[in-house]
């Protein structure tokens, strides 16, 4: 018995030792052995900071390794890998290690890595979070690299998307992809009722009239749908001439235009009954609204354009149109950017990868082919491939929507974005559950946001 427990302890130690041993092996066996790598990074840093204009490419013998962390590649790892392979083939001196982290855990991980000073060289941020990281001085200023790179022209990107990652005159990231939200409609259901398809002239009124005809409670078909949550809210109030912030950065959540818009969001379900009841939690499950559309249970719905691939399996004809507004048009605009950590030791290599990954035709074409997302490039040859992909028939709407875009309303204190959206979201929940009226909910939200930005 004694020997047995002794053996148990021995076994435990052996396993741990072998685990640590295996790990050491990993380190030394990796293509870039520890010491040459650090010397090459030192030289790269020197050249990037001291003389960015004539930085020589590090010799091909000792590649630098860039770490890339992404969330948008969730489900598109093969595409990501193909894009990285293409880059490595053209840049033998740089190796890129990627990690895909699910969106729900991404901020937790990224912030902890930043706090510990071990951030990846390259990572993704959405526009709404970009401002926070830029303001907190976490990002590498790319302006010197851009100035030094004679082969680079900023107009390869859509100006709007490129400028989104400019902070106080410094370019601190490049736009990797953009997306917007438009009105999707089921053509077959419209045909069955003999209704005209939605077009750019539609307002909420036309939408409601059509939705009332399209709703068929017996078949479980709903005329129109949009969720009640923060993102939908800030766009809908813009369609009614409202907004979250005044021109001088004061919260205006409970303005009459906003209250009216929220009332409209609620009324579609509870008064006009053209949307699923608010206590139907099937529609509150993630993706449930998408599934309902694919199954022909929704005549009209507001969805992101990243869902085209999912809807290609629909057994009916569908198309997209500009969203109806009330007093004006408004469409979501989201941009995901690629940024470099301020702490990166390979600024030059990082810039080369960023440029390639977001604008090189051979890279962004892969993104389009796989239906991952839309690169924000201007090259008509590349974008043609995107516009040719059907359905939907009216793909041009994707670009038309940009004429009336609303950016995420980040407000005067970017670092409070998460807390701000959560606070407003909670009050919207209360309105949705009928615990408070639209006015009461927005009054409460106004009070909370005032306290936040005080």
């Amino acid at each position: 018995m004694r020997t047995k427990s002794g053996a148990l302890l021995l076994l435990g130690t052996t396993i741990v030792l072998s685990a640590c041993g295996a790990d050491k092996e990993n380190n030394t066996a990796s293509p870039s052995a520890a010491s040459p790598q650090s010397s090459s990074t030192a030289s790269a840093t020197g050249s990037a900071t001291a003389a960015p204009s004539d930085s020589p490419a590090p010799s091909a013998k000792d590649p630098v390794t860039l770490k890339l962390m992404t969330y948008t590649a969730s489900g598109q790892e093969q595409t990501l890998k193909a894009m990285i392979d293409a880059f490595q083939a053209a840049n033998a001196d740089i190796k890129v290690d990627y990690e895909v982290v699910p969106y729900a855990d991404y901020t937790t991980k990224l912030n902890t890595l930043l706090a510990g000073g071990s951030a990846p060289d390259l990572f993704e941020v959405g526009y709404e979070n970009f401002l926070t990281y830029a303001a907190k001085d976490q990002l590498l200023d790319l302006t010197p690299s851009i100035a030094a790179d004679s082969s680079f022209k900023p107009d390869v990107y859509k100006k709007l998307a490129y400028d989104a990652f400019n902070y106080n005159g410094k370019q601190m990231g490049v736009t990797e992809s953009f997306s917007d939200v438009v009105l999707f409609y089921n053509k077959d259901l419209f045909d069955a009722e003999g209704l005209a398809y939605p077009d750019a002239s539609w307002t909420w009124k036309e939408e409601l009239t059509a939705a009332q005809k399209l709703t068929d409670a017996k078949k479980g078909i709903w005329g129109t749908y949009a969720p009640i949550q923060f993102y939908e809210f800030y766009k809908t109030i813009a369609q009614n001439g409202g907004g979250v912030w005044s021109a001088d950065g004061k919260p205006t959540l409970n303005s009459p235009a906003n209250v009216e818009a929220l009332q409209w969001m609620i009324d579609k379900a509870s008064k006009y009954k053209v949307s699923p009841p608010l206590n139907d939690d099937t529609f509150n499950q993630p993706d449930a609204d998408l599934n309902a559309f694919v199954n022909g249970k929704l005549a009209m719905a507001r969805f992101g354009i990243w869902n085209f691939a999912k809807f290609s399996e629909a057994k009916f004809n569908w198309d997209i149109a500009l969203e109806p507004g009330n007093t004006q048009k408004a469409h979501h605009f989201f941009a995901d950017g690629l940024v470099a950590a301020k702490t990166t030791k390979n600024a030059d290599a990082a810039w080369r990868f960023m440029k390639f990954f977001t604008s090189a035709p051979e890279a962004v074409s892969k993104r389009i082919e796989a239906g991952w997302s839309i690169p924000a490039v201007t090259d008509p040859a590349v974008m043609d491939a995107y516009y040719k992909q059907k359905p939907p028939e009216s793909k041009q709407v994707v670009t038309d929507a940009l004429d009336s875009l609303v950016l995420p309303p980040v407000g005067p204190k970017p670092e409070k974005w998460g807390e701000f959206t959560a606070a407003v979201g909670e009050e919207l929940d209360k309105a949705k559950l009928g615990r408070s009226s639209a006015q009461e909910a927005l009054d409460a939200a106004q009070k909370r946001v005032e306290a936040l930005v005080k």
């Binding site: 435990g12 741990v16 685990a19 790990d23 489900g75 510990g116 499950q285």
Partner: protein
Amino acid sequence: MTGRKKSAADLAAHLFLALLAVALTFPFLWMLMGAFKDNLEVVAMPPRLLPSSWNFDNFSKIEGYFPLYRFFANSALVAVATTLLQLAICTMAAYVFAKIAFKGRQSVFILFLTTMMIPAQVTLVPLFILFSRTDLIDTYAGLILPGIFSAYGTFLLRQSIITIPNELMEAAFIDGASYYRVFFSVIVPLVKPTLSALSIFAFMSSWNNFLWPLIVVNSKELMTLPLGLSKLQGQWSTEWNLLMAGNVVSFVPIFIVFLFAQRYFIKGITMTGIK
């Protein structure tokens, strides 16, 4: 008379226990069945328990999504190493707290216990900084080390070792045994049931740990199953059949460990004399 009364009471106990056992285990049965259904059948109304055909597509599909076997092996390695080390370290400490008196022992023991009350979410970041300063990020050691000590385990083992009569130790000392000898030949054999109970808890918390592996590991070669599960959940939020397949893969090993250790389990907990 009493016999009949007793058998009636037994029957009632059987009924009660069977009902409760079904209620407690049914979600697992439902999970298991869901893992073999296709995406339509899994949400069919009215629901059916058994899948119309047994297909393994869901498992191969998640296997294509992340390196299932690699993650599985990592989880197993980390959990086994953590469990063994934790048992060793906690038993040694518990031996001192129960049987080797020294000045200030009580204060040290209370210090041990207070660490049980702080939520892990807040020590996570300082711990991460420590690991990043010592280059333990993205290593097996980084995954294993934080779990090798447990105040809870030390406490349970101390309670258990205290019940061992001092006379047993004294007899060994008279035979010329040292404290080390006594530890291996008297203490460890006598607390084996408690060790088996603790091994379930240690294995369980390592196997199911999510937050720490999330931040401490970056490369795929080192990732554990909960990270894979969270990837699944991030990608398919309502594809219940795939999610259930992932759950089944993570559940079966720990269930097997439990089946082996549970024989000593109740005895082990009894021995800790919790009171």
